[in-house]
Chain length 337, copies 6
């Protein structure tokens, strides 16, 4: 599949010095536009020699802290301060951002389940293919910004996977700590098919992700954590000087990991969820963490939910209304390296 | 219109002693059910003589603190402690609650713009008519619980209108203070057509409303404020003893009012809103309160928004994604009686 | 409202002798046709002097026995056999018939809740207005054919309302018996707002209706009952000779009436309904009539439903899948004149 | 209804001298914006004393020549050249223009069937009310620009109604001729309920309309006819000097009238329409004007359509695909005053 | 594909003795639930040694007799009576059952055209994969219950394929006869891609299916046939004693087979179908079996349909409304082994 | 894939002499028809020995000149005049034609991006497979008729690809010239994945296509060009005599080619497009070709578009309303062989 040629064209030149604001032109034939395209904003900043950092956000269209942090970076950065290259796509899933929803409305696909994509596929698949096959090969490291989106709220955090290769694990952990979010998460096992994370790691590049609050809102604190983390990483990777005034803030106060099975509190049926605990609270295994109200009935009693694991609550469902099978809370353990 | 007979039937007897859990049966003919109904839970608690309090919530299906507070009250209350009668409808807009949306999906109507309703109308109009014409006449006071819903976040508060009749204004202000929310709002002017508020006030009954946070989530603090306010009002109206353990908590720390015109910060075009200020912050007139990012363009600069009024921020838009004309923030003045 | 002029035009001449096949042209401006119309088939047969019978069907687009019986009548009838006039509209709700659904998809309205309509309204309102204000005044009697539609199955029957005026009641009862369906129903109380029935009766004309099976299918037996009833009525009203070979079949074997409140078995929640009794079965008050399976749960037990009335089952819900509030069964009493 | 107060606010001052670019703020509460508004662009130009001309377009969101002509006028006009006042709303149905459709997608209503509107109604009704009750009273004359939209193509023309009052008829005919479109149409009878035309005429003000091509496209010639007509009218009403370089072009070459009944060729069933004649062609009564191909069948022959009237073809259906009841062609007579 | 690991987890232990009621947790990320799941009820009953029978239903969400029969079996069965193991999934297509439709609304797929599925696919593909790759390997025989669903009505029957391997054919025929439905069908040729049937047979396991009435209703007789057949099979496979009171009823009275080509009566165009023959009737080749009424036209005559084959009518279209290409009737031959 | 057996059946016999009107029966199981099919009209005309020409149209359901030209040919042609065989499918995408849209509404696919299709796929894939694997192998040449559809208007033209094989290029160019459209286009580079063109060429057969106007209308001139071209090709391929009265008209006046990159004028953002140039006009590189009006704003100036290439305008966007990324105009160079 790697040899397929992308159908996406662009007006930026990845080798040119200075700051360029351009677009990716993604072909999108549809009823209202036989020869239409979707235009995806891209910014490239290059100054002399140095590493290349690929910064992406907006894979899910209801997660806004990352896109804003990247858009602000393109305006705050003085290209002459840079040593190396930044490739920045603040809103990969443009139709999702316009619709304020996770899934791309144009093809019904989840971009972060579609890597490495297909050159001849739908919008989401073509973007995934372009990022994987054209941009990742240019990059030394990739940071992909996420938030909880409409359905989840997260403790603002920076995330890495537990890597088999010890040296690469430590190198990534160093970058994670440099980001300086109050919480760092190391994910041990994961259902990672189709994620950018896995593709980048398999390409031997360094990869970090974030979860910056959620509820499809823009959280001032989480945005601030994301912006500072971004500048901190530019220093960490040697792209800007260590004494840059925007960098050097924040510090990682806690490292946790998410074990797979019992970390998730799942709704057994439809209802409205009332949490008893807040994000950041510690819970014991078996402790009641909330109840589900059956508001369509005057007689049915609420259903109580309990923690399947002791630890700290790192995420909760945001909307009160809940369907059977929805994730209501996520509990994490302390990180044991 | 008042003489039209409701098409809604119920299995509760409003004159019976004790606690009854029943339903309102609202006729709803549709493609999948020619003779179908929608069942709306209702709870009636009566014990001896005393005032009648009508407690409603869920007019908008994406506001959950009120419905939960009322549902919990029906389980926490010992009927023998009561002196008088409670009529409780936790989820008036049942189809909206099931769909997690403000507007009733069955007829596209906003229940709180549909009072006093029509006996021969759609679901929303029939429910508005029943509440207005059957239940309000039984009540001495009405409390209708709201939150900000999907699109808005509010400082948790209890709300009343500025009333022309000074005595009734003061009596309502006493109840508002008794509720004990940290913030109380007196609305001076309003676009009140079709609201339950106006109908109840015109009926000469006491009326209070709330805004308990928002973002379509269940906020632990706002829920707690709502629950305590509920018990405090039961004491205030003499329905339970003043020393009931659930009552007596919370106190109103601030009273503000919302002037009509410049209190609202409005989005001039489509974008993603980044707030600079938090709910509860004080702002000056002309101060920058946020900016709108045009994430579909790599070249267009963000659009800055300023406050049209000095005061305190009492509400903000919750979802980052914003359309032209959306309300981004609401600013309030100190209350000057 | 009566003086409003219809916007509907037609190419049939109601005073012309012989058989005419034409259309009603109902204006319907929409996105795909600014000056569009909906064409409703109409057939007029006139031969000399005699009464006028208005025959309508297809008010609900998922009830097919009536439309077929009327369409076949227009081909089977020899105009020279007739004494008087027939005005026949087999499919009043043409868009509903095309969509196979009760509600008119063009405006979301139920035609049989929209009488007497509005000249300046939507499609459904214009058709209701035309039938009420143009056609009913020409008629001596009106027969409107219904079946159970998608959601209900009925014992094939002919229906009349209990009328205050004793003479008109008896005259209608004679016609009902002449129709010769195995079952005749006299409805005592009803929620009749917007029905053609009420409008015709208030106009002092004789009115009959039917329920010919259901489930949105074409039932051979029910169709046969409807066709014979049609010919029997032509004889009864003197429009054809008593010895016409198509008439004189069938006889009414049972007369029942539907009391209002407890005749309906209502689903208390969502599930799949398993009936224990068949249409036509006798049931006792309190007898179990079926159960609701909660197929989304492996642990929740089925919910049992009981009859609120002793009598005969005249209708049942057709689709297994059921929402809270759906009508599961209707029970009738023997008719006591 | 006239005394109802509009809920719409604006930032333009109709009495201020000079050119103002502002918006109408139309309240629009919805699931994604509880306190949202729709912003409708409005431009007011005033210079000294003189008549007020109200210029509107975009009642239907798929008709673009009028909106463009008005938008260009606001940029081409030097306010100091003006004597009097222009009130310009290029896109009354903003949501329709965004959706490229006739009907307003927000409430499903046709703005030009909704006059004089309701202050407490939906978006379309509020805009109709504002134009009728706030703006028309300020105006001496109103010109409302239309084109054929998605479904129709028109010979570019200027239009008036046949008026009972002879003097007003002649005065309007003078303005129509001054507009200088190649074709002028006088409509004798019409189904005019809810149109702006009728409301303005009943207010005793002069009213003109246009049909500037169609097919939801922007036709260069029709746009040019519309723009010149606009400047010609400014001269005709004395708002600019007669020797203004933009005016004085074009001349009305033909006047026709549309009789009501047989002028319309209507599709008897669904198919794809092949016209035999072009807009502007003369046809005889009974002449074949096209045929309907039944492309879903390999055996059914095409259905031939004939003219019900001799005259000139002034409009034709634009999309090939046709439903039963669609208008395929409109034929006009020579105007006989 | 077989080696792909399922993403579905479950709380039942297939090796544990006794009756367990649990769920399959199928990951389903969507806009309203980023980390959501769909919960599919599963019941496992095991008692000592013996064969394993896999019982499935609800592949199509509008076929209810099978799901009810399986749900009732889990409550009627005394685990201590069993010798072996039952794995029961009454509603494989849970979202389809909730929507009352054949196709899974979550991904638009037909479960019984999706076998053997994909571990990394959509809901339907993951369920197909789990059943094929995890459950079928545990089973000695599989029975998958179907009914006609919304669009078809079937003579209640048990079904097998004509198998090449004579011994397996006879063994399956024995089981088919043991089921005891009044009608047994042997399908000779079939378009079987993606069906569970084919997958199971290719796995060398015994497979039976059913068609238990249809019309999306719950037929009392067909349900009874299904329930009895289920108990009869438990005896036949030695899972319960031959003298169990629930078994031993019903007997197969007729065996037929469906030849491929001319057995199907197909609608040549859109209309409303009136059948002349009933399910179970014998027809001759060329006999008229019904007609299609064109209710949108007052002039077009009905279209007559004839049988392309002599035999017995085993199924008919249920809804009267019919599109071009719909199957109106299915005719079967006597089985000639 | 070639060996997969089609699931499509037909009642035409491709080897029979004379004219046959039949259908392709394409299986299409769906909620409303479990065993449904879609019927695609096909006409086969055969007379003695001679080449086979496959004539297709309606791949996109909003392009009507081709379908009409083919449907008319089947009625105008006297089979005895023919020498060889014609296989004619006027509306390959029947559901798209019924919906008047490019994309097949049944599966959301673009037929002309789906070749060579899949035997076991959706409707569009099955039709693509049938055409590719069953019909193309029978044909010596294939002509597939297109128009611009809803979103584009084209100068009526006949089209071929630049072919590597010089002899085949010249042979195709001869056929293109014989067609006799005023404009001929040779496409040099193209994004041709999934097109019928490429498949046929790779099969070594001659292939031509057309673009006959657009805007989803039926253009009299373009239809005439298409019809004449069809007859001219029948002569060119020796299927009818050179002196056939319907042939011999029209001549190719201009040959152009479309270079890939800068030939397309693309909308940078949403707006309403006003063209300055007409189809057929010559433009210089850098010349202003139109502007985009931002009708939702009263303050934002229009955005000007310029030609990226000098040449002739061969196509323009048809609807005024435009999204970011839409193709506004296509410019071609003179053909340099």
């Amino acid at each position: 599949m790697a040899e397929e040629k992308t159908r996406i064209t662009t007006d930026v030149d990845f080798e040119r010095e200075g700051l360029q604001r351009g677009t990716l032109r993604v072909p999108h034939s549809r009823n209202s536009s036989a020869w239409g395209m979707i235009l995806v904003p891209i910014v490239v900043v290059k100054n002399g020699e140095g590493p290349t950092l690929l910064l992406t956000a907006g894979a899910h269209g209801d997660e806004f802290e990352g896109p804003i942090a990247l858009a602000k970076l393109t305006r705050a950065l003085d290209p002459s301060e840079l040593k190396g290259r930044l490739i920045i796509i603040p809103a990969m899933n443009v139709p999702g951002v316009q619709a304020c929803q996770r899934i791309c409305p144009v093809d019904g696909k989840d971009l972060n389940r579609s890597f490495p994509g297909r050159a001849g596929g739908s919008y989401t698949e073509m973007v995934a293919h372009y990022v994987s096959r054209v941009l990742v090969p240019m990059a030394d490291a990739v940071v992909d910004f996420h938030s909880g989106g409409y359905s989840l709220n997260f403790a603002p955090c920076v995330i890495m996977h537990h890597l088999e290769d010890k040296a690469r694990h430590e190198k990534t952990l160093d970058a994670l700590k440099a980001f300086g979010a109050p919480l760092g998460i190391v994910i041990r096992e994961l259902d990672d098919s189709g994620q950018l994370d896995t593709f980048v790691e398999q390409s031997g590049k360094l990869f970090l992700s974030t979860e910056l609050a959620g509820g499809s809102t823009v959280d001032i604190d989480a945005l601030s954590i994301g912006e500072r983390g971004l500048w901190n990483l530019l220093v960490h990777f040697g792209l800007i000087a260590a004494d840059h005034p925007a960098a050097g803030h924040g510090r990682t106060r806690r490292l946790v990991e998410v074990p797979h099975a019992d970390a998730y509190v799942i709704a057994p049926e439809e209802g409205v969820y009332e949490p008893y605990v807040r994000i950041g609270d510690s819970v014991e295994r078996g402790q009641e963490v909330g109840q589900l109200h059956i508001l369509t009935s005057s007689t049915r009693a609420p259903v109580t939910l309990t923690a399947g694991l002791g630890g700290v609550v790192i995420a909760e469902r945001s909307p009160g209304k809940t369907e059977a099978g929805d994730c209501l809370a996520v509990i994490a353990d302390e990180y044991a390296p």
